[in-house]
Every structure is written in C-alpha cells, then in structure tokens.
Amino acid sequence: MFQISNQVIANVLYWIRQKRWLLLTIIVGIVLYLLPAPSGMSDLSRPDGAYHTLIIVIMALVLIITEPVPLPAVAMMILILQVVFGIAEPNEVASSFMSDAVFFIMGSLMLAVSIVKQGLDSRLALGIIRLTGNKTWRIAAGFTTICALLSSFIGEHTVTAMMMPVGLILVRSTSSDPKKVAVLASLLLFSIAYGSAMGSIGTPSGGGRNVIMMGYWTEFGHGTVSYLQWMKHAYPMLLIQIPLAVIILLTTFRPKQRVLDTAVRKLKVQVTKGGKMQGREYLAIAVFMGVFLGWVFLGHTIGLGIIALIGVFMYLAFGLVDWSDLNRNTNWGVILLFGAAISIGIQINNTGLAQWIAGGAMDALQFVAGDSPLLQITVAILLSAILTNFLSNAAAVAVIGPIVLNMGGDPIIMGFAAALASAFAYLTVVASPTCMIIHSSGLVKRGDFLKAGGKLFIMSVIVLLLVSQLLWPLF
C-alpha cells in the first residue's frame, strides 16, 4: 500500500505555508474567471477582454505585494494570461513588453550602479559640508536640497546609495551609542531619503515612472512631452516642496546635538584621504553629462531609454565599471516586471477597462463633489499617492496611468498629476527603495516613517493640487 512518509507531509505543509498567497490568488482568479463580467462592462467594446484584464491586474497586485513567487514569475504570469485569456495575440503581447520605457528602466538601473561605483560620494560629501558648515539644521537642509536636486537627474536610489554612508559617518562620529544619536540619525537619514524621493519628479530621468507616463501619452495619442517641458511642469513643485520638507523634518526630529563639529572634522579627514580627483572620475562625470545632454536634446528623437543605454555602453567601454558589478546589482526581475506591467497597462486602455474604472469612480464621486476638474485631479493624485506606498512608483503608474488618462480633463495634466503623486512614497518602509535603504541601516524605526512621512504626504498633496490649479493652466 502506498504510504506517504511524515517527512513528505511536513514538506508539503511547509510549501503550503510558504505559498499560501499564491494558492489564494489562483483560487480567486479561477472563481472570478468563472463569474460573469460586471454588468457595467457590457457597454465597452471588449467587455470580456476588460474583465479578464481586471482579473490579471488583481492577481498581479496581490502577488507583487505578498511575494510568494519571484517577481519574474509574476511578470511571466501577466504575459501568459494575456494570451491564454484571449486578450491579445502573442506577437502583440511581445511587442508591448519591450519599449523605450523598459530600455530606460534597464539603462537607469545600470547607470545607477555605474555612478555609485565611481566613488564620487566622498567628493559630494566634501562639497556639501563646505556649503553647509557644521550646524545640524544646515546639514539636514543641505542634504534635503542637494539630494532633491541631484535625484531629479540621476534617480532617487542612486543619490540615496551615495549619500547614506555620509549621513551614517556623521552619526557614528557623533556617538557610537545608537540611543544617544537616534533622533540625529532619523533627521539626517530622512533628509537624504525624502530629499531624494521628492527630487525624482524633477525631470524624466529622475524616475522610470516618469518615462512610463510619457510612453502612455504617446501610445494613447495624447501627444509627446519633451524633457524640458517635463521640467517646466515639475520643477516649480519641487522648488516649493524642498523648503517645506526641511521645515517638516526639523520640527519632527529635534536632536540634542545642535552642532556636529567633531563629526564634520572626522568626515573631512576621511574624504580628503582619497586625494585629488583622478582622470577616471572626470571621465565618469563627463559621460554622465553627455547622457544628460542627450536626454535634453535628443530624447525626443531617439528615446530616453536608448540614450541611457548609450551611457551604460560608454561606462563599460571606458572600463569605468565591470559587467560583473552591473550584473550583480541590476535586478533583472524588476525589469521583466515593469515590461509586463506596461504591457498590461496598454491592455487596460485598449480593452476599455481604464474607461470603466475611471467612469465608475467619477460617477461615484459626483454625488459628493459634482463634476469638476478639481475632483478629477484630486482623485488622480490620491489614487497614485496611496498606491505608490504599497507598490513601487513605476508599477503604480503603469497600472494607474491608463485609468487616470481616461478620467476626463486634459490627459497631459492628469498624467503629470498621477506621475508626480507617485513620488509621495513616504509612509512605510516598503514604500520606496529610498525608504528601504535607510531602514536597512538599522537606525530608523518603522514608526518614524509615518511620523515624518505623514506630514510630508499631506504637504505634497496640497502643493501638487495648488500647482496643478494655479501654475499649469498658464503653460
């Protein structure tokens, strides 16, 4: 008689424990598939396609948040189900998977590795300290400002990766007892993280989700937005946010240490050990400046993604970075996932699902606030801002983008609102890579994210609403 050993049973039970969210997702997916589409979808051109797309989105969101399977598996599921559910033909799915936005995400992740590996962080640290001096509030303000301005060009996690050691050195040089410097650590690390997060809206190259939105505008026939046009809309908001964020951080975290002269002195000694800038470092900066100018002047014609890849090629060709470093530090699974997310985003639009969700949301809210552009933009901002605290900002825009562009109003304005709001990932440890990076230091508590991030979130929503109503109509 066939008997199953206790070891096998124990292994099966363990597998069920580890994969319970996967099993639940599959069961929910099957149940939803067997149910009829909601009646409101019958008016759409492809009601079955829209409903099946909705099922894929629900399944994918649950799997991305709970992570029972690796992200590439979720990406594959999205692609597979589009074909299996008859939403799109295989070649259509394949062609929507790879786009300039995906090239940009790939290129920017690799550029981040290339830049961080140059060791320019010590030069940056020296420059900042020379500007800010040794008063704690000035250092915090300097970190917030410089991180915001830099990340608008090179991305938030690149800047946080470079600046975090600087912040940690200042903290550790003040006292080796973590309890004595807990508040100082929170102030400096949140200045770095939140400054970097805010700044990523400033230019298209600040974040992959900016390029995803630009791709949607083009794909759905809403026109194109150039690098400089993006800056015109986003930079005023950033410049308003920076001083307000500094005030919020300084009032939330009030360390006892008002002056960090010992820590600053030790930092200066440490960074000057590196000696003068070498030719390699000048070359690395020159390559990046070339990439930046390419984005500004050629982005429109050859695509931001291709230019990012040119930059990576140059770093590799000049031997400024090894392929092994790029390979190790580039999360290829994330690139696959973003490709799949953009692919399903296109189907969200093409099947009419975006229109159904957008229409339903606006109909529901009309009872509260009537049919107003302000309501439309507020919903777009809040949807994006809340979702980004649970998903990555790029995934949030990939899913929300098509919905927001169908909510009514000017799609360019609505798209900007959603894309900029996706930067408001301040509330939780898992909200963004910058939050995870500073949390990995072991010096910031989970509660601090809500304490400072909550205020920053409210401020950012208000500023974005004001900018969208008072400034953007002038352009």
Binding site: R17, V116, P165, I169
Partner: protein, 292 residues
C-alpha cells in the same frame, strides 16, 4: 554534534547566547550563531544591495554584522573561542556564500564556531540553515507570536530549545517530562547531559489524565530514575494527574528549565490539532527544550 543558535539583537539575545553556548559546551558541539535580518522587498533588493555595497567602502557594514560582532565578543570573553583570536572580529574574514555570509572561527577544545548572517523570514531561514548542515539542536529566544511555537516545532527539523525568560544570574533546576513516548528516552539522555555538566538538580514529572498510571508510564519513569541515578544526578520524581499541558505549566516554576520529548503525532494531526509540546511552548513562560 552541531547546534544552531539564533540571535536577534544585542539587547535581548544575551540570555540565549549564554545558555546556548553553555549547552553546546556540555555536548562538546560545534556552534553556529546565526542572525536573520529582514530582507528588502524583491522589487527594491538590487538597489538596497547597491547602497549596502557603497557603505562597505566607508567601512560601514550591514547592521547584522554588528550583532555578530557582539556575539563574537561575548563568546570570546566567556572563553568559548580559541584564545588565539588575537585579531578580534574582522569583517574582512566574512565570506559571501549563496544565500548567507559566514565567518568561521576556532572554538576552544577543538570546537568549530560559525557566525552567519542571513536575510529573510526567520522560520524559512532557520529551516534552510538547519537543512544545509546537519544540526542537532536549534536554540532561539522566546517570541510574542503565538504561531511561532507551531512553526518552530512543525518546520524546523532539529530539536528546539526556546529560551524564554531566562535569567543568567539564577540557579536553574531541570524539569524532565517523562511519559511512554519514544522521544522520552532521548529527552532523558539529553537532559541528563545538561544537568550533569551544569550542576543542575532534576525534577522528573509524569502526568496522567486519570488516576491510573499505565504500565508504559511507570516503566518510563523507572527507567528515567535509573538513568539519572547511574549518572549521579540528584533528582526527585513527581507523579500528578490532570490535563498534561496545564499541569506541566502549573508545576514549572521560574527556576525550571523544561526538557520534553517531541510528539509522535503525524505532521497533519499536529497542524490541525496541535500537540503537547506545541501547546506547552505556547503557554510556557520558562525555557523549554523539545527533543526530537
């Protein structure tokens, strides 16, 4: 023999490291001290690792390395490590392996000591570590989470020692739970070795639901008594009636360290109905060692 000892933080793990290293010494066992840190979400893992790599250039290491450094200093100062570790804890000696980083040290009297850093969910990582090397015992501090008891006993393939409310300044007595299960014999041997090495007196406790103690129980209790006597371990035997788990917990005092055998129930029954060790561990406010 090889023991796996999980530490969580410098603040709370001293009792675990104290009693864990003493028990490893009693068995002349190799010891692996593991710190399981939280893992970044896969979406951001590459970028977090980039930041951590960038910190290494500034000689700022993963916070888990700090905990391992503290564990190293503790073991060194308690004489557990070879006296020639003159260079102290050196992060340069850490080796990156597939799913963990590890530092190999020389323990005193030829024992081997590893310091290991893993990232992920604690049960998952301890299970992986336990399956990677042939560990006999996993030692871990107490947890507020009720489900931890079930997960530890059900999914970690080694004996489990949960160090709850252990006071390093207190003199403990060993409380050995004796019944007619197969695991009791192993528990008695294990407990006797600890008691003999640590100079602990022993209480044995046999609990029956009814007044009638079956022949299996009597045989087991006599065998345990004979074994303890042969080892010269002072002991008292107790026979009580009542619900076993409630009686175990009521009898144990704050100076007891409990040792019991694992349940022989199938994993499915344990999953749905629990077991005496699982329920005892959930209710216990004292250190408890479950021998598989």
């Amino acid at each position: 023999m090889k023991f796996l000892l999980a530490v969580g933080s410098k603040e709370y793990s001293e009792p675990t490291l104290n009693i864990g290293s003493r028990i490893a010494k009693a068995f002349d066992a190799d010891l692996s001290v593991v710190y399981v840190g939280s893992k970044p979400k896969e979406m951001f893992a590459g970028r977090v690792n980039l930041a951590l790599d960038s910190m290494v250039k500034w000689e700022i290491y993963h916070p888990g390395i700090d905990v391992l450094r503290w564990a190293f200093d503790y073991l060194n100062s308690s004489g557990y490590l070879e006296s020639e570790q003159v260079n102290g804890f050196n992060p340069e000696n850490i080796v990156q392996e597939n799913d963990r980083i590890r530092m190999v040290l020389q323990g005193s009297y030829g024992r081997k000591v590893d310091l290991i850093l893993r990232e992920g969910e604690i049960i998952d990582e301890l299970r992986r570590e336990a399956q990677k090397e042939d560990y006999t015992l996993t030692i871990i501090g107490g947890s507020q989470k009720r489900s931890m008891a079930h997960d530890l006993i059900q999914y970690i393939p080694t004996s489990i020692f949960v160090v709850k409310s252990f006071d390093t300044r207190r003199d403990y007595r060993l409380l050995l739970l004796v019944d007619d299960s197969k695991a009791t014999k192993r528990a008695v041997r294990f407990g006797a070795t600890i008691a003999a090495n640590q100079g602990m007196e022993v209480d044995t406790l046999t609990v029956s639901k009814s007044e009638n103690f079956g022949p299996g129980y009597s045989r087991a209790a006599k065998a345990a008594g004979r074994f303890l006597k042969s080892k010269g371990i002072p002991h008292k035997q107790h026979f009580l009636t009542g619900d076993p788990v409630d009686t175990f917990v009521e009898f144990a005092s704050e100076t007891h360290l409990m040792v019991m055998g694992a349940s022989s129930k199938s994993p499915l029954k344990k999953f749905f109905l629990g077991s005496k060790p699982i329920k005892t561990l959930e209710k216990a406010a004292f250190p408890i060692l479950i021998v598989k």
